[in-house]
């Protein structure tokens, strides 16, 4: 859906500029004239929401970095100094800490939308892969960031995650020491995590540029999952149509965001992180932030440490090859009755894994005699389903499923000219 530029410089200066650096042409073609399918629903506003989240995290993060001190001695106190003595420091810090959660809420909705409407399929494979790469970078950034306040969960979370690398055969121990910069998580670790936490958002921003570039080459997928045929009938201009809709969606999202920041700022965090890190005291339950819990559950579901690490990273790695696992030519789950049902089962499985990741692994869910069905058992079943969904169901469904008839065009699907509605 890449289109011919319709930009005409309006005055002498923009004509002069257009012949030297056509940046206004780029903005016009990308965000004003850019044609978007007219049937996009609100699940498509999360791209704008995510751009907003990234900008908020970078701006608040830069201000926080002006006051934060990355040493084990002063990190906790410097965060509290921000909360108490810096003008509106409490606001900036709570926006940043809750902003991470909001970013992940938005990215999960964005990804599940892509799964539901088949947005990863040809010709959007590279677009999807860049998205998964952003997600991976986000998780790394969030992990580094969570270590910085140097509370108990910061320290023990960092210890658990870096120890995973110790499970790698032969080089594991050496690699772990190299990551720590010491023989345990300490000052050098905190210092480099701060450095990387500052760097990674700019890597994300770079990949976001590629992601949007790839998007503008192929054009957006849409709820009907069919390509644009006649741009005049099937699409509308990005501005004002999509911009207004995105603005409205973003305003609603900001209400949710503000609820957490102003009225429940610590609900998504762990109380233990308000205790200064103490290498001699292990918390009763070490848990990561909510958005990493499903992967934590997969890690713990495997009795073997190395196996757990492999499956945990495998759970993310599998997303990269998704476009080639799906054998169905039909994109949107609207026209795939079987796929649609399994999509929702997959959503439930992911939420279930998140639940398991937050619970003590030996917690009994269904008591039978002395033992029973515990959290570890549940996470094993859900882990198997997670992988089976992609490795077995994705190839299989495309072969056995009989899709519903697709609408003739996007315009036809909007006007409701399908037989059922006429």
């Amino acid at each position: 859906m890449s289109h011919q530029s319709t930009y005409t410089p309006g005055n002498a200066f923009s004509r002069w500029m257009d012949e030297r650096l056509p940046v206004m042409r780029l903005v016009n073609d990308s965000f004003v004239d850019y044609p978007v399918p007219k049937n996009l629903n609100y699940w498509w506003t999360f791209g704008a929401v995510l751009s907003f989240c990234l900008a908020v995290q970078i701006v608040t993060g830069i201000v926080l970095a002006m006051h934060y001190v990355p040493t084990t001695e002063l990190a906790f106190a410097s965060v509290e100094h921000i909360m108490r003595d810096v003008n509106y420091g409490w606001l900036i810090r709570y926006v940043h800490s809750n902003g991470a959660s909001m970013f992940f809420i938005a990215v999960y909705i964005h990804m599940f939308r892509g799964l539901y409407y088949g947005s990863y399929k040809a010709p959007r494979e590279v677009l999807w892969i860049l998205g998964v790469l952003i997600y991976l970078l986000m998780m790394a950034t969030a992990f580094f960031g969570y270590v910085l306040p140097w509370g108990q969960m910061s320290f023990w979370g960092a210890t658990v995650i870096t120890n995973l690398f110790g499970a790698i055969p032969l080089v594991g121990e050496a690699l772990r020491t190299w990551l720590w910069g010491d023989f345990a998580v300490g000052d050098p670790t905190l210092n480099r995590f701060f450095s990387l936490h500052y760097l990674f958002p700019f890597l994300i921003a770079g990949v976001v540029v590629l992601h949007i570039w790839a998007l503008h080459v192929t054009g957006q997928n849409n709820p009907a999952g069919i390509e644009v045929k006649d741009p005049k009938k099937d699409t509308v201009a990005f501005t004002p149509y999509a911009t207004m809709k995105d603005a409205f969606g973003l305003a609603i999202f900001m209400i949710l965001f503000s609820y957490f920041v102003f009225f429940n700022p610590n609900a998504l965090g762990e109380p233990d992180n308000y205790i200064v890190a103490d290498p001699l005291v292990t918390p009763a339950h070490i848990v990561p932030e909510w958005y990493l819990l499903p992967f934590y559950a997969i890690l713990r579901a495997v009795p073997d440490k190395l196996g757990g690490v492999v499956l945990m990273f495998g759970a993310i790695a599998i997303l990269f090859v998704l476009p080639w696992l799906d054998t169905s030519k039909v994109r949107s789950a609207r026209f795939r009755p079987l796929f649609k049902q399994f999509f929702w089962i997959f959503v439930v499985a992911c939420i279930g894994l998140g639940y398991c990741g937050g619970q003590s692994p030996d917690k009994i869910l269904i008591a039978v005699g002395d033992g029973g069905f515990d959290v570890t058992d549940l996470s094993r079943i859900l882990t198997i389903y997670y992988f089976a969904h992609f490795l077995i169901l994705f190839p299989l469904l495309g072969l056995i499923e009989k899709p519903k008839p697709l609408p003739e065009s996007i315009a036809a699907s909007v006007l409701g000219s399908e037989p059922a509605k006429s």
């Binding site: 007219k38 629903n41 609100y42 699940w43 106190a77 509290e80 909360m83 108490r84 409490w90 606001l91 709570y94 959660s101 809420i105 909705i109 509308v236 004002p240 149509y241 207004m244 809709k245 603005a247 409205f248 305003a251 609603i252 999202f253 900001m254 209400i255 949710l256 503000s258 609820y259 957490f260 920041v261 102003f262 009225f263 429940n264 700022p265 610590n266 609900a267 998504l268 965090g269 762990e270 109380p271 233990d272 308000y274 205790i275 200064v276 009763a284 339950h285 848990v287 932030e289 909510w290 819990l293 939420i351 639940y355 937050g358 619970q359 003590s360 917690k363 909007v414 409701g416 509605k421």
Partner: protein
């Protein structure tokens, strides 16, 4: 018309999802395992809870007295400075009162221009004094260092209710429960056995405003005070939050109508 209906139902779906996220995420984030064998704390109504929640100045002032006379004997609250006591949204003592409170302590300062450390009376800029110079000294004197109380109200699950319950939860150990000497039994402490002896007894702290100084009242007041030391900007946060919400709701409304207007030529 039918399209519109579908459209609206989708929108409500999205809102419902946002609401579900608001309610469900904290549940997901709470490690239920952490509660484990712990007893659910007594649930009280606190004036600082809710959208319009504010601190009760009198409770904060009484709570400060309990903190100073009881807690501060063993605990520190290093993140709090005397000047915080006169800032808006806190106990709001007068400047004179705060100077007098601060002047009661002795602070080691320096070095002066001869390179000597010297002692001076405390000033509003100084931190609350710590009973011991470091954790090792505290552990040597008490068996275990008592935790700093500055942010304790946020550092425990169900923070304020837990603190209150802990303070009123001291009882004799149940029959057959073996308690080592020097330890105490508490209904609400995870595992029930803790090193901190019962800190409060009826009539212990003299209240100047005539409030009955029962254990429950003192526990409530000092918990109120510790919530303030943990969240000194809570009132400012609630006030600004309410304004932001009004703004966002209005903005969403205007954007909704503007969007309908823009899209009207497409339907």
């Amino acid at each position: 018309m039918k399209n519109k209906m579908i459209d609206i139902s989708r929108k409500t779906g999205l809102l419902a999802l946002a609401a579900a996220a608001a309610i469900g995420l904290p549940l997901l984030a709470t490690p239920a395992g952490a509660a484990g064998d712990a007893v659910k704390p007594i649930q009280l109504d606190w004036s600082f809870e809710g959208v319009f929640g504010v601190y009760d100045r009198d409770a904060l002032r009484r709570g400060y007295k309990v903190y100073k006379e009881v807690c501060a004997v063993c605990h520190s609250a290093e993140l709090v400075r005397f000047r915080n006591l006169m800032e808006p949204g806190g106990p709001e003592f007068t400047e004179g009162q705060v100077k007098a409170l601060a002047a009661d302590i002795v602070v080691v300062d320096g070095p002066d221009d001869r390179g000597e450390m010297f002692e001076r009376p405390g000033e509003p800029k100084d931190r609350f004094p710590s009973p011991y110079p470091n954790d090792q000294a505290a552990a040597a004197a008490m068996g275990a260092a008592a935790p700093d109380l500055s942010v304790i109200a946020k550092a425990r699950p169900d923070g304020v209710n837990y603190l209150y319950s802990l303070l009123v939860g001291y009882t004799d150990a149940p029959e057959g429960f073996e308690l080592l000497p020097g330890l105490s039994y508490n209904t609400y402490f995870p595992g029930h056995v803790l090193a901190m002896p019962r800190p409060l007894s009826d009539g212990q702290v003299e209240y100047e405003d005539g409030t009955p100084n029962t254990v429950e009242q003192m526990a409530k007041d000092v918990t109120h005070f510790l919530m303030w030391t943990a969240e000194p900007k809570l009132e400012q946060r609630h006030r600004l939050g309410f304004q932001v919400m009004i703004y966002l709701v209005l903005l969403s409304g205007f954007l909704w109508f503007a969007m309908r207007k823009v899209w009207s030529d497409q339907h």
